[in-house]
């Protein structure tokens, strides 16, 4: 298993909220921009890659107990979203890279997307 901190260093993504939780371990990965799909398929303690950056991303991550969210393509969450993420202990990370590139790099780090449901 790999920690969020290691991921931020190796994939070069910037954590922007709840940085105190960066030692959290990641068990798998998931990518989609549809929130309901993330709720359905992203496993607890996994990392979610999406280009959505509004407050509901935080709600989905918190409800699903995700380890963290990587927001791609240079999208930056606004202050309200960051505050909410901070309050709910959700780790948001940002990168200018595309979802495809990030998922590729996460896969090389050994993070797997699990088949089926949680």
């Amino acid at each position: 298993m790999i920690s969020l901190k290691e991921i931020t260093e190796k994939v070069n993504i910037k954590p922007v909220s709840s940085i105190r939780s960066l030692d959290r371990m990641v068990v798998g990965g998931y990518a989609s921009d549809l929130l309901s799909c993330a709720l359905r398929s992203a496993k607890k303690d996994s990392i979610w890659v999406t280009l959505q950056c509004h407050q509901n991303v935080v709600a989905v991550a918190s409800l699903s107990g995700l380890a963290g969210v990587i927001i791609t393509e240079g999208n930056e969450p606004d202050q309200e979203t960051l505050t909410r993420a901070e309050n709910e202990g959700v780790v948001l990370m940002v990168t200018p890279k595309t979802t495809f590139t990030v998922v590729g790099e996460l896969t090389r780090l050994g993070i797997q997307g699990e088949h089926g449901t949680k």
Binding site: T8, R20, L35, C37, T50
Partner: protein, 322 residues
């Protein structure tokens, strides 16, 4: 890549706790004319390794067991304390946080710090051991407070007796208020956690509540109400709105079908997965709707054997729904 600091509970406390909470308050002191041999007795009787030297109210120095040893070696045991004391005293303010004391210990390599108040009067003394003890006490206090409130919440169903006790939480959900999306379900999630529900149960209920809440936000004309009714063996989530109503409930239930407009889809909603997500997470779900009147979605979660801990089997025992 900037180095990201990691904060532990202990580090938070070091910044939060004022020195006066951890310092020793009954300061044993000597006067400048106390002899070194008298000092030896003061240190021995009180089992301490150093004391401040006060001339009346005025702090004039500090003297430690080290100074005493040197005096013994040099045969200067009858000298007054004022001759052998260190006059450069390092003080901290009683209202400063413990981290200031930690910094001064590291900076000056001293064994104790004198604590002063607003008027510069000595009100306490602080050693590394006092800090450790103070931090441990503060942590255990925090821990106890948390434990007690958890204990009380967990036992609500045992403490309050009736033939059928239920806890009902109601939340108003505003139409098109995407920014607040998930607030009601987060609160339901927190309540379940407080009540001691197992993580698997909490997750299933939280996801269902969130989907129901988002449906109210996206589709209901005037928003609606999200209600969570909790009983020891069953939890019901109900979402009620007053329009517009669903023309074809059958179709609405089919996975992937959505009536959400494009702008909502661009936010990542409206995938047509909401109701099927709820169906998959719950034990039963019922959707009633009438065009022009409103919709009512009832979701049921059976908790076996009970809500309180040990309900880990409930995940497996729930019947399959597709």
């Amino acid at each position: 890549m900037e180095q990201v600091p990691k904060f532990t509970k202990l580090q938070e406390l070091i910044y939060e706790l004022p020195i006066e909470r951890v310092m020793k308050k009954n300061v044993i002191k000597v006067s400048p004319n106390t002899s070194m041999s008298e000092l030896k007795e003061v240190l021995r009787v009180n089992r301490i390794s150093g004391v401040p030297v006060l001339d009346g109210d005025q702090l004039v120095g500090i003297i430690s067991i080290e100074d005493l040893l040197k005096a013994l070696v040099e045969g200067d045991i009858l000298a007054p304390v004022k001759k052998r004391m260190t006059t450069q005293t390092i003080t901290v303010h009683e209202s400063e946080s413990v981290v200031e004391a930690v910094k001064k210990f590291a900076q000056h390599k001293v064994g104790r710090l004198l604590v002063v108040n607003e008027q510069g009067k000595v009100t306490g003394i602080l050693t590394g051991g006092d800090i450790t003890r103070g931090l441990l006490e503060a942590i255990s206090l925090d821990y106890h407070a948390e434990e007690i409130s958890r204990y009380r919440a967990k036992h609500i169903f045992e403490d309050i007796l009736s033939d059928r006790t239920s806890l009902i939480l109601r939340y108003k959900v505003k139409a098109k208020d995407f920014k607040s999306g998930g607030r009601a379900s987060s609160k339901i999630r927190r309540a379940l956690d407080r009540l001691g529900a197992s993580p698997d149960v909490i997750r299933r209920i939280a996801i269902s509540a969130y989907e129901a809440e988002m449906n109210l936000i996206i589709h209901a004309d005037e928003g609606g109400e999200l209600i969570a009714e909790m009983q020891p063996d069953v939890i019901r989530i109900t979402a009620i709105d007053h329009g517009p109503g669903i023309p074809d409930v059958e179709q609405a239930l089919s996975s992937g079908y959505s009536t959400a407009p494009n702008w909502i889809r661009e936010l990542g909603f409206g995938a047509g997965m909401g109701l099927s997500n709820i169906q998959r997470c719950s034990d039963s779900m019922k959707l009633e709707s009438k065009v022009g009147v409103g919709s009512k979605l009832k979701i049921v979660f059976q908790l076996k054997p009970e809500l309180i801990e040990g309900s880990d089997q409930s995940g497996e025992q729930r019947k399959e729904t597709t």
